[in-house]
Amino acid sequence: MAISAGQLAFYYLAAASVASAILAVTRRNPVHSALWVLALFLHVAGIFLLVGAEFLAAVQVIVYAGAILVFYLFFLMLLDLPSEAAGPRFGAHWPLGAAAGLAFAAVAWYAHGAELAPTPALTAAEDPSAGTLAAVGMVLFTRFALPFEIASLILLAAIVGAVVVARKSES
């Protein structure tokens, strides 16, 4: 069976995102970890493009790779790094954490394999506008208008909360 371009793109993006996630979790230098997470975010944006979620891919690149990651890098530069990079990377209990992560991945893999194996393959959308900005925007501003406003309220609360938490106390 010939491998189509879509399959090739998916397997490249999946392998690259898993590899960059592993590197992000295991690198000693936190700045290197953050840069591998940047690679992960960009590859995940490519996967969003493959499933026809163009708007989500754009938001992923702008918000995650653009804003959130720069914020992390800013804080990594702000805090004391050389002493952090010198110490051990993992806590004493890291085998437990690794066991929990591997067990979760195995269980999730097994669960979807049982339930979703016979579902039809992802094909090109019958409705070509299903993932476009217009379709997402129509749903977002009609049916999900209230959650959208609540999301803006959450962001406002987070801004105020971050300022209150991080400021220097007067006393």
Partner: protein, 100 residues
Amino acid sequence: MVPVGAYLALSAVLFGIGLIGFLGRRNIILMLVSVEIMLNAVNVSLAAFSHLMQDPRGQILALFVIAVAAAEVGVGLGLVIALSRNRPGASVEDLTQLKW
């Protein structure tokens, strides 16, 4: 084309890697980065389901996940700043004031 199970398997593997990072790393900032990896894994499966069911609601949910992730980063890193003002460094093993 790629079956939807492959997307969900990728999502499960990414979530597991994020979980390992969150539970295993000592640096509090890298623990937050691992949370971001887990949120991305969830977004992958939401987008795959959205495509499978031809329903934009999965993408809407993923957008809300991204908004909440942005809020989480703001508050979480504010807490890191407040912590590092009291004691320098970003290792969670130094933060034992609440332990008794």
